[in-house]
Symmetry: C2
Subunit: 524 residues, 2 copies
């Protein structure tokens, strides 16, 4: 079997793996702690509005609810995603354009579009009670008007009427660069919003790639086969043939103020007077019985956090390890608690003492809003386990020697950088020198004595006894036995051997040979 | 029923609560991941040596393996410990001295002591394969020779022969001050090492109290009744009448080098040429069928980590809230990952912006080796949850504004401060300015928009549906619903209400009234 032909094949696979919960009862779309390995996606098959309206679409939520669910969609394990991404960047597969596809089974245009339009789609509300928006957060397809280069980016679209959306593309993103170019030519930028593509396309849209790289080709590299595209009906853009739904349109010359909504830092984004460009819908196409993919966003982790963590991890890994030739980089871990961007741990086996700092400096250069707290740890520290990272911070670094604070950063939506009612300019770069980041080299600076746990052979004996005594099931975390870290003298080994063989007398005699007179306790 | 009369009554209570595992099979004493709420203490009832020797004592390990196990021993919940401690400091109960007690049931002295002495006790090895020591880490009783004031401190004793121990009392501790005073008078300090006291005494011994305060009286304050003491047989010191075992002796005028052993930072302590004073054993007294209490120590958490976390939390809470009159302090959380001392989070409801900094400065003044990483969080952040703390670090502080690094600290056993083979002086205060600490105010600096989760009423509905659908059991963590943090305009509330009542048209019309012409995207 090749790659998933569409979202539905992927959902079938999730269901086989016990990772999808089908929800057949009625769910009111305006109203929403499980360990990561038990998290599931939810398919709501009977969506009604708070006023009783029935919708023709189903709604998929929490996809991906975990790294495992996303990895299932990429045909690999969670640990393999970064390498799969890196290889897909090195070996992209060009997409194929066909005449038609399931995404064109149903078309809403003309009078029908005018009468109901976006209102006919059952869209979930992400933070009911606090949100003033219903929205999509999916792949937005645009083209560079000068070169014809395509971009597929993950941006938010907020419904602003039956035929209008506020399309928020933040300045550094490629879609925003396209918009500037179209506006300078005095033309309206064509846009296609793709809902319900396969996970390879979702990941490619969410991941930063060099300007001009084709996300569809990288998605093809992940799948190992070309993504099948069709031309849109009303704009000169290409969309996946098997997507669940596409909203076609063009940017207008107007802007509108946002209402509040939940966002990645885990707070409602208090939008102030933030004005966002309006897109005019020209046509909606979709499959029969379409699935609307809601991307929940707010207090992390949400599906958006999972996707963005994996996207940043994969692109930063590719950047450090391949583009910058740092072979010591083993893993990049974006923590959910940092909303993907603000707490990043790089795991590395350093060769030179400056290796961690080259990685930290490269990270700060990779993005102005990435890595507010950035930490490098050694290869024996699990970079995804916050307690393991805190252990490294506690005993492998000294603040005055191994930390640096850098300013002139972008806070993106980090509200600790500015009060809620300041101007947009002040938000982007709070005076006098922007937001800041904390860089920490938490690797060992010299040889250490062994980790203070019994040697592996004794722990293995203890595990056998644990099982025999029917004690609670163990979920072993690293480290579960002692191991060497470079400092251990022959004499230390001899002493330890005398202890485990019960030769206390010999050890006591040996140590007792070098007694010295009592000195003051502060010399002890 | 009053307080536990002895360790055995406490163990009976632990067994009733499912917190004790009795291990009847043979266990070789030279030769250990479970969630905290499932952790148990272990009583090994059949201890043999690697060379086949059978020992007359049982061994208790992992006591306390969790805050809950320790709290059971103090007659309160884990959350109540700090208040219980604070009240006991304010209302101590003087101990009572009786003629005799169970601790004197068996006496080892004279020829018997000479023949077997400390070798007759079955003592567990904490990090087999790496440790060159068998040791006690329990209550050490000493007296100030000038004032007669008693001290009960938790220090390590390492067996150095049948009748000799290396007794390591680090310089700032009260037992070390006593030792200096005795030495200056040219006399040998009498010492009693108490093994298997009740948990109130264990906690009091491990917790820093003002010089001259009687730990037995604070332990009485916890119990709500006097601790019963007896006079030692060979030294002028008092020990708990129901302790399992007491080693009596006096300090000699000699010192001996340590061999390596596991310690609180989670590494083997590479002792270099660290010389430690020798104590000469004069007598061992114990109960019939005595229980030796092993304090495991090494990669955290161990029983020692749990005890030291609780001890530092209780004393720092008492210091900040009572001694320094900071009513905003709600909790102090020492993280296991920091080996109790190196990662400390203070939860506070601040009134003035400088409150968090007063608390941080007070913490640095409370101990030179406490709080290498010290963080203040708001009252809505769980200070014990590393992910909640990382969320606060990610979105409630800016490094250049809210952090300070201070130098001239003691690293204690933190090996990141100095290479392993440097001198003892350099270890204590690495040049040029000691170890350092990182202080962080991670509280909100202004009003925030609500936490980005659905309002409580919608989450309650969702929980009911979750249960109805028989989805995996939830272990809800804070926050599980959105709540206000000070910034929310009438207009925001109106918009959110229009969304949850399905009045999209009204909202769209309202927002659409203020459209403006498109500006460049970098102003958006």
């Amino acid at each position: 079997m090749g790659y998933f032909a569409d979202l539905r094949q992927y959902l079938t696979r999730l269901e086989e793996k016990g990772k999808l919960h089908r929800f057949k009862g009625e769910v009111v779309k305006e109203t929403r702690g499980v360990p990561e390995d038990q998290r599931k996606s939810f398919l709501f098959e009977n969506v009604v509005g708070v006023k009783g309206r029935r919708y023709g679409n189903r709604v998929l939520m929490g996809c991906p609810a975990s790294r495992e669910i996303l990895a299932l969609g990429l045909g690999c394990s969670p640990e393999q995603i970064k390498e799969k991404w890196s290889q897909a960047c090195l070996h992209p597969v060009e997409p194929e354009i066909g005449a038609t596809g399931p995404v064109h089974e149903m078309v809403l245009e003309g009078q029908d579009l005018e009468k109901s339009g976006l209102e006919s789609i059952g869209v979930p509300v992400d933070t009911p009670g606090f949100s003033g928006s219903v929205r999509t957060t999916t792949q937005v397809v645009t083209k560079d008007p000068e070169t014809g280069t395509r971009n597929v980016g993950q941006y938010s679209g907020h419904f602003a009427g039956r035929r209008e959306m506020r399309l928020a593309i933040a300045p550094p993103h490629h879609g925003a660069i396209h918009h500037v170019k179209w506006s300078r030519q005095g033309k309206k930028m064509p846009v296609a919003i793709v809902i319900g593509a396969t996970p390879n396309i979702t990941l490619a849209g969410a991941t930063p790639v060099p300007y001009g790289a084709d996300e569809y080709a990288i998605a093809g590299g992940i799948a190992g086969e070309p993504v099948k595209l069709v031309k849109c009906r009303t704009v000169d853009l290409e969309v996946p043939a098997t997507a669940e739904m596409v909203i076609e349109g063009e940017m207008t010359d107007q802007m509108e103020a946002h209402a509040a909504f939940g966002d990645y830092p885990g707070y409602v984004y208090e939008v102030g007077n933030r004005f966002v460009p309006i897109m005019r819908v020209k046509c909606i196409t979709h499959r029969r019985d379409p699935i609307f993919v809601g991307f929940d966003i707010g207090y992390p982790p949400t599906a958006t956090t999972v996707l963005e963590c994996v996207a940043i991890e994969a692109s930063l890994y590719q950047h450090l390890k391949r583009e910058l030739h740092m072979p010591g980089v083993l893993d990049v871990a974006c923590h959910y608690s940092g909303g993907a961007r603000n707490y990043i741990v790089i795991q590395m086996k350093k060769i030179a003492p400056w290796d961690p700092w080259q990685a930290l400096n490269a990270l700060t250069g990779f993005g102005a809003m990435l890595g507010k707290i950035s930490i490098v740890v050694d290869d024996d520290i699990d970079p995804r386990d916050p307690e393991a990272v805190n252990w490294a911070l506690s005993f492998r670094m000294q603040p005055h020697r191994d930390m640096r604070v850098i300013t002139h950063r972008s806070p993106l939506l980090d509200v600790s950088a500015h009060p809620p009612d300041c101007s947009n300019e002040e938000r982007h770069f709070p005076s006098p020198s922007g937001a800041s980041a904390l860089l920490i080299d938490a690797t060992r600076k010299w040889a250490y004595a062994p980790v203070g746990l019994p040697k592996k052979e004794y722990m293995e004996q203890a595990l056998a006894i644990w099982e025999r005594e029917k004690l609670p099931k163990l979920d072993l975390r690293q480290p579960w036995h002692g191991y060497h870290l470079g400092y251990w003298r022959e004499e230390d080994e001899d002493n330890a051997q005398l202890i485990v063989t019960g030769e206390y007398q010999k050890l006591w005699e040996k140590l007792g040979r070098n007694r010295v007179p009592l000195r003051g306790p502060f010399e002890a």
